[in-house]
């Protein structure tokens, strides 16, 4: 199987029919073997029955049905696990992505990229509520993480099989798929895709608040860069407090020894200094505790990375031949 298209579906009773037809038409234009997997994420509006109906007429459609709602990310993960294609494409179930864009993604995957991410350059969404905030957020995130991506939120993405199967996606991680892929050594390409406003049904996202974006940013930076060496991270945070604490204590001691002031008059410096030293100590200890977490971890980024790098080398030698 060359291509798997994974589509998470949640309460899309009005869209599924058209969605399936359009994906199928696009895929039939390409001469490759493919499968379409719909993952029903515990829909409650009858979508489940609807897709089963479609399945009866279209036996090549594959259906995975969750026992309840787990969120879009988990539907994607399930689809990735079931997918048998060498290339795996994921897309939204609400027709905001145009199935015609799948071609571009496949062309780029074939030319050797491990991951191709959609970029909704001309977004047809509310400007103030969604476009501008997400633009700023994406710019910030791509700057901090050094992954050059303009649009993190686009669901239309293509993966090389190895990357998709090794993707660690727990709830809340879907926004960082490209960053995560980069951390396990994927070569990433961004392609512009068309983006339509929702035709039917309700949009399921609200406005992300600024502080959340900033916290997310810190989180993803820490996870990508420090989750394998947390003691370094915590030691680094503690440095200013070592300096501040020690200098305050020294100041107090100097005054005390020189008797330039009464014993109690600069007690505030001593107290503050002690406080900072305490924080610095506890941060270093936190680092050690977190090292223990890493020793017992079950997710080995290094292993996946070396695995994928090896496949890159193989691919290069094939190209040279």
């Amino acid at each position: 199987m060359e291509l798997s298209v994974v589509v998470p579906i949640y309460n899309e009773i009005e869209n599924v029919d058209e969605l399936y037809r359009r994906i199928k038409t696009e895929l039939q234009k390409l001469s490759l073997t493919y499968e379409i997997i719909f993952v029903d994420d515990g829909s409650t509006d009858g979508t489940t029955e609807k897709v089963k109906e479609i399945k009866q007429q279209e036996p090549e459609l594959k259906l995975a049905i969750f026992d309840r709602n787990y969120g879009q990310t988990q539907a994607m993960v399930a689809g990735f696990q079931l997918a048998r294609g060498d290339m795996i494409v994921s897309m939204d179930g609400d027709l905001q992505n145009d199935p015609a864009d799948i071609v571009q993604i496949i062309v780029n995957l074939r030319s050797g990229y491990d991951m191709v991410s959609g970029w909704r350059k001309a977004r047809e969404d509310n400007v103030i509520l969604r476009k501008i905030p997400s633009k700023i957020a994406n710019a910030l995130i791509s700057r901090v993480t050094e992954v050059k991506i303009h649009d993190l939120g686009c669901s239309l993405k293509g993966f090389n099989r190895k990357i998709a199967k090794n993707m660690i996606l727990y709830p809340e991680m879907h926004r960082f798929i490209p960053i995560f892929a980069a951390s396990i050594g994927a070569r990433i390409k961004e392609v512009q895709v068309t983006h339509k406003p929702r035709m039917r049904g309700q949009s399921k996202y609200g406005i992300a608040r600024t502080w959340r974006v900033i916290l997310d940013l810190i989180k993803i930076k820490v996870l990508m860069d420090f989750s394998h060496k947390p003691s370094k991270l915590f030691a680094a945070i503690s440095v200013p407090f070592w300096i501040a604490g020690l200098s305050l204590i020294v100041k107090y001691l100097v005054e005390y020894v020189n008797e330039t002031s009464l014993f109690t008059s600069s007690i505030v410096f001593m107290g503050t200094g002690t406080l900072y030293i305490y924080l610095a100590f506890s941060l270093v200890t936190f680092g050690f505790i977190t090292e223990l977490l890493c020793v017992t971890r079950d997710y080995r980024q290094d292993k996946i990375l070396s695995n994928i790098m090896a496949s890159h080398r193989k691919w290069k030698t094939i190209q040279r031949k």
Binding site: Q74, I168, L215, S227, V268, L279
Partner: protein, 324 residues
């Protein structure tokens, strides 16, 4: 091999399992068994009772042992040491063979005939979990008050509408239990956790037994534990996969406040004559805020690292059906 074991399990399946954890107080257990068994017999004769007796409850154990052999459908398990209600329930679920599993407190809480209501909700309406709400007509004022306060707090922190989460009589479809891993004292909140994950939970109104209307005054530790439980639940339901959202927010607010105070002090120190910091306790206090804030923030980071490094083993979804 695998098919074989499956077959054996399905052979052994019964219609109803009733699990009775015997942890602290209990009424006459034979009477309890007889009155509930009589009601269940009206539904089906294909049922079993599982008594799980905690370590220290030796008298209850010998009591059950005495009447156990009179009836054919009693399983008895005794812990060697005190392991608590959660473990008792887990062990009970593990050996239960029933399609529908009921849990029952070891003392009379609810009129036995109400069990039929629970059964029909599970069987006919395909509800995943039924819990019960005792109508407290005859209950004492103190009981009503502490119950109301507890559920007010519970509603505030978890948004649940259940009004009697601590009633021991519950029923559930067999599969449901396998999906939720509960530990500690959290077993009493299974319905809330389950409902949060989209499982169908229904609260049925049932009649309270007279025996249950005695004023209950628990130890101070119990009350304290309940408060901690509610806070734990609040955190787990909302922030399990995003601890940074919780700790990060609290931590950063504290740091910002502390930082503003310190900047004010430093500003005055630099630009005002004769302004020393040595006699300013606010330097100390604002530093304290920063210190606490950074610590909380760091805890959030540790939380994220825990989730991230352990994310591979956890399974977050369940495919009911795969049609190829």
């Amino acid at each position: 091999m695998e098919d074989n074991t499956k077959e054996i399990i399905s052979e052994r399946e019964t219609e109803i399992s009733v699990i009775v954890p015997v942890i602290e107080r209990h009424s006459n257990l034979e009477e309890l068994y007889l009155s509930y068994a009589a009601e269940i017999r009206k539904i089906t004769t294909d049922f079993e009772f599982i008594f799980v007796v905690d370590g220290p409850m030796n008298r209850a154990y010998s009591e059950i042992k005495r009447f156990k052999n009179k009836y054919s459908n009693i399983e008895l398990i005794k812990f060697t040491k005190s392991l608590g209600e959660s473990n008792a329930l887990s062990v009970g679920f593990e050996i239960a063979k029933g399609k529908y599993i009921f849990t029952l407190s070891s003392y009379f809480q609810v009129e036995p005939h109400e069990i039929e209501k629970l059964y029909s909700a599970l069987k006919d309406d395909e509800v995943d979990i039924v819990i019960t709400r005792r109508i407290r007509e005859k209950d004492t004022f103190f009981n009503k008050l502490q119950n109301a306060l507890f559920h007010k707090a519970l509603k505030f922190f978890t948004g649940t509408n259940f009004k009697d989460i601590s009633c021991g009589l519950r029923g559930m479809q067999r599969e449901v239990f396998e999906k939720f891993d509960v530990y500690g004292d959290l077993h009493r909140f299974i319905p809330i956790i389950a409902e949060h994950h989209g499982v169908k939970v229904r609260e049925l109104v049932v009649k309270q037994r007279v025996e249950d209307t005695k004023t209950r005054i628990y130890s101070l530790r119990t009350y304290f534990n309940r408060i901690i439980d509610i806070l734990t639940l609040f955190f787990l339901l909302r922030f399990t996969y995003r601890p940074m959202r919780f700790f990060g927010l609290i931590g950063s607010i504290l740091v910002v406040i502390g930082f503003l105070f310190i900047s004010k002090l430093i500003y005055f120190r630099l630009f005002t004559m004769n302004y020393g910091l040595r006699d300013k306790p606010s330097l100390f206090l604002s530093s304290l805020l920063i210190v606490i804030g950074i610590q909380i923030f760091a805890v959030g980071l540790i939380g994220e690292i825990i989730i991230y490094t352990r994310s591979k083993k956890a399974k977050y979804f369940n495919i009911k059906e795969f049609i190829e």
